[in-house]
Amino acid sequence: MGSERRRSIGWRRLAEIFPLFAVATVFAAPGFISGSQITRGALYTEISIQLACVVEYLDHLPANRGERLRINLQATTICSGVSPTIIEEPQSYRPQDADAANLVEIDYESDTAAGQTLTLVFSEAVRYDVVHQDTSNSVTVRVFPSVPSAAAPKEISGTPGMRVQREPEPESSYVINLSSSRQPHTSLDIPDVVLSPGTKLFESEIELAGVSWYRLRLGPFKNTSEAEAQLPKLRDRFPTAWIARDSEAADITDTNLSASGDVVSPYIATNSALASIGLDQVDVLMSDARRAIVAGETSRAVQIYTKVLQVPNHDRHPEALEYLALAREKAGQTAHAKAEYQRYLSLYPDGDGFPRVSQRLVALVAGDRQAATGPVSSGTVAGGAPAQPSAWRFQTFFSQFYRRDANQQNDEDQIISQSALYSDVNLDARRRGERFDFSSRLSAGYRSDMLPEEQRSNSNALRVSYAYADLADAATGLRGRIGRQSRNTGGVLGRFDGVNLGYQLSERVLLNTVIGKPAYSASSSIDSSRSFYGASIDYGPVLENLELGMFYIQQNIEGIKDRQAVGAEFRYFGTNKSFWGMLDYDIYHGELASAYLQGSWRFPSRLSIHGLVDRRGSPFLSTGNALIGQPVFTFAELAEIFSEDELRQLGLDRTSVSTTVTAGLSYPLTPRLQINIDASQSTMDGTTASGGILATPGMTYSYYSGSVVASSLLKEGDVSIVSLRYSDSDTSNVVSMTFDSRYPIGRKWRINPRIRVDRRQNAADLSDEWLYTPGLRIYYRHSQKFRIELEAGKQFSQRETIVTDIDRESYFISIGYQAFF
C-alpha cells in the first residue's frame, strides 16, 4: 500500500510546474521491447529501451554516427513476467516523444546472424553514444544534437561559376583546442574545467584526408592574448592544448558540450531562462524533485535534478548531482548512475557527501555483481575511493585501550592489580573477480603488561582470533576458507584451525564440510592433540521463515574419540514470535551433550513473554574431560594409564550437567517507558568420584530481576534505567540496585553516569557486605574514522564479619581509541 501512495504523490503538481520538461515518460510496449523512456537534456537526448529479458550486449554499428544504428545482442532466457519465447517475436516500435531524439522507430529482429538486433532508425544522421552493460535488460542510446558551425561556409546559389561567400567573422574567433581524437568524445569525457564568462566547451568534427577528427575545444576568445591567458591553466590537464582561430574550422560541425558560466559542472547551460532562475526557485525545484523521487517518479526526478544542475551559481549543485545519480539508479539506469556518482566524487572530493556517495557507488557496483553472479562482495580501494570490480581493497581497523585496576584494603598499601595496554588490529584484504572472490583476514591482539616484572600475574600475550583466506567461486557455488576461523553451526564449537568448504547445492540447500583442530582460546597455538571433521546440511527457508540444519561431527584426541555427535538446529522468526532450538547428541558417550530452546511471543496487548531452556555439559562433554584433576599434563600420558573405555567413562564422570530455565516478560507502559521482569534458575549437577578424583557437589543459582527503562526523558536518545535484582546461590545472596543514565551531548559526545549498590550476605562467614560502585563512561566521536572512549569507576565496600570489619576501595580506569583507515 505504501508504493501506491508513492506513485500518486507529486505527478500532477510536477506536470503543472514543468510542462515544458515533460518529455521523459516511461511507456510500455507489448513485445520484447517492453518499454522506453526518452529524456531530453542539455547535452544530449537519451533513449532508454527496456527489454523483457536480460540481454548480453555484443556490439553496435556504425560506431557513433549514422541514420540507422544496429545494436547486436544475445538474449538470455531470464525474462521478467513473460515467456522467453517472446525473444523470437520481431517487433517494430515507435516510442512516445521519438521526435525529441530524431528517432523514427526501433525495429527488433530475433533471427539475425549476430543473434538479436535492435535497429534504431533516425530521421537524419545523428551522433550518438551507446551506453550498455555486459548484461542488463535495458539499452541506452544518447543522441547528441548537431549545431551548425557559426563559421560554416554558405553557398550563394543560382550563380554560375559559384562563389563561396564567408559570413562575417564573429568578433570572438579564437579557441583553445584541448584534445583531438578519432572517436567522438563521450559525455563521460567532458572535462571539469572552470569556464570564464562567455566561453563554452564544445566538440568540433573535421574531416582530414578522409578521416574524421573530433576536437574538444574551449572558447571563443576575442583575441589570442585572452586565449593565451587561459592556456597555462589548462596545460596540466591538456599538455598538448593549442590555440586556433575559430575560422580555421571552415568545414566543421560543432556540438555544444557545455556553455558559459563560472561553475565547474559541465551541466551549466547558457539558457538565459535557466540562468534567471533564482535560488529560491532552486529550492522549490529540489523539493519537487525530492517529492518526485519519493513518489516513484524517478524520470521526473532526473529531469528536475538535471535542470537544477543547469542553473549556474548556486550551492546545491553537489546535492543535486548526488540525487541525480540516485534517481538514475532508482530508474534502473545503473551505468548513468555510476557515471554521475563518479563525477560527484571527482568534483567534490572534500564534500560532506563524499563518504556517502562512495558507499552508494560501492553498493551499486556490488548490486550489479550480485545480480550477475550471485552474492559477492563490493569494494573500494584504500582510502575510500570507489574501485573497479576487480580491484584489491584493503581495510585496517586498529584500537588501543589502557586498563588500570587498583585496590586497597583498610589502611594497607594500594595494590595495582592490572596495568596493561591492549592493542588490537584487524586487516582485511579483498579482491573481486568476474568469477572468483578472494578475501583474507587477520584479527589479532596483544596485551602488554605494564606492571613491574615482580608484580605481573599475566605475561604479555598475543591473541590471534582470525587468520584465514577465503575463496568463493560464483560459477559453481563453491566456497573454501582455510586458516584460523570460527563456526557456530555444524557441531563446531567456535574457533578452530582448519578448512571449511561450502557448496550451495540449490537456492535453499547449503552443504558444508569442515576439518580442523579446535582453538578454544585465541591465545593458544594449534592444539595438536585434537582434530575433528564433520559435515552439515542447511535447508531453508521453509514454511515462511523456518530454517533447519543437521550435522555430524567427530572429534578425536590422541587417536581416541573425543566426541562423536549428531545434531540439529532450527530457527524461526515470525511477525510476533520467534523460536530457536539446538540439539547436540553425543552418540559415542550416549548422552545429550547440549539442548537449547528459546522462544519469544508478543501478544496483541503488547505484552511479550519469553522462555529459555538450556541444558548442556559443563565443561562440554568430551573424552578429554577425563584429564580434569589428574596428575598428568597431557592426554597422551593419561591414555597410557587408562583404557579407551575407562577414559570415556572418566570423561563422562568429570562432566557436570548444567540446566537453566528462564522466563520473562516485558511490557511497554508507554512508548517511552517499559518494564521488564525476569526469573531464572540454574542447577549444576554434582559429579561422581572416579579415577582418583573426588566427587563434587551440585550447585544452584537463581535470580529475579525487574527493571524500568525510561527513554527520551530529557532529550531524544537518552535513556535511564532503574533495576533491582536478587540473586541467590549456595555461597551468598545478593540484592543489587542499579541506576544507569545515558545522555547524548551534541552529535559527538555521550556520557553515561551510573551507580550500583549491592548488599551481599555471605554464607561462609555469615558476613554482611555493602558495595557502592559509581562509574562514568564518556564517549567522543572525533570523526567517522576515529573515536575515543573513557570509562572509570570506583568501588567502596564495607564488610562486617563476626570477628572484624573490612573496608576496601578499588578503582579502575580504561581509556582508548578506535580508528580505521
Binding site: 584500537s399 557456530n488 567456535g494 521463515n545 511477525t575 528459546q598 538450556d614 548442556r616 512508548p671 521488564n676
Partner: protein, 198 residues
C-alpha cells in the same frame, strides 16, 4: 466518578480495536512485513528475519555467547521516508548485568565486506522511529533495543555483502561475527532492499 469509570471502560474497547487493527493491517509477504501503526499513523516495513550476530565467550562455556540481531526498518510518514537499523542485544551469560549490555551500543561499526559503516545511536525506544511499540520481537525479555538512523544505501550495501561483522564501542570494543548460513535473513534483507524507495 461514574463518568470517569465509563470513560475508562469505553477506552478499553477503543484501545483493543486499535491494537487489533495494528495486527489486522499487517500486510505481509513471506520475507518482509508492512504494518500500520494506528497510534502514530506511520507505515513501517521490516524484514521478517533479522540478521544474527554472535560473540563467543569460550572461557565461560561453549554456548555462552553475546548475541545481536540487526534488522532494517523503513518508516513511511505520509510519504516521508526514513530508514533505521534495529539492534536487539542479549546474552546467555547470566552473570552479566543487563544494564551493562548497553555499553558500546551507542556507536556501532558494521563492516560490510570490509567496508566500515558507522551507526550512531538515534535512541533506545520505539518513539525514536515514530512507532508506539517495538517493531521487532525481542528475542528475550531483557534484550536491549537500539535504533540507528541510516540511509537506504547503507542497508543496500549490507544486503549485498557476504561477509558482515559488527563492532561495538566500549572498553574494550567487542566484535560480533555473523551467524553461519542465515539464508532466511539474507533473503529477507534482499527483499527489503528491493521494496525500499531509495
Amino acid at each position: 466518578m461514574r463518568g470517569l469509570e465509563n470513560k475508562v471502560a469505553a477506552g478499553y474497547p477503543l484501545t483493543l480495536i486499535l491494537l487489533l487493527s495494528f495486527v489486522a493491517c499487517a500486510s505481509s509477504s513471506q520475507l518482509i512485513d508492512e504494518v500500520f501503526d494506528p497510534v502514530t499513523a506511520v507505515t513501517v516495513t521490516i524484514s521478517k528475519t533479522p540478521l544474527l550476530f554472535y560473540r563467543d565467550n569460550p572461557s565461560r562455556a561453549a554456548y555462552a555467547r553475546n548475541y545481536l540481531h540487526l534488522g532494517p526498518i523503513e518508516v513511511n510518514r505520509s510519504g516521508s521516508y526514513e530508514y533505521f537499523f534495529w539492534i536487539g542485544a542479549w546474552t546467555t551469560l547470566q552473570t552479566v548485568d543487563p544494564v551493562e549490555q548497553r555499553d558500546g551500543l551507542e556507536s556501532v561499526i558494521v563492516f560490510a565486506d570490509g567496508e566500515p559503516l558507522n551507526l550512531e545511536l538515534a535512541g533506545w525506544s520505539p518513539e525514536t522511529i515514530g512507532t508506539s511499540e517495538h517493531v521487532y520481537v525481542r528475542p528475550v525479555a531483557d534484550a536491549i533495543d537500539a535504533y540507528y538512523q541510516v540511509t537506504a544505501d547503507q542497508i543496500r550495501l549490507i544486503a549485498a555483502a557476504t561477509d558482515i561483522r559488527l563492532r561495538t564501542t566500549g572498553t574494550p570494543p567487542r566484535t560480533y561475527e555473523l551467524w553461519d548460513d542465515q539464508q532466511s535473513a539474507h533473503r529477507s534483507l534482499d527483499e527489503f532492499v528491493l521494496n525500499s524507495v531509495f
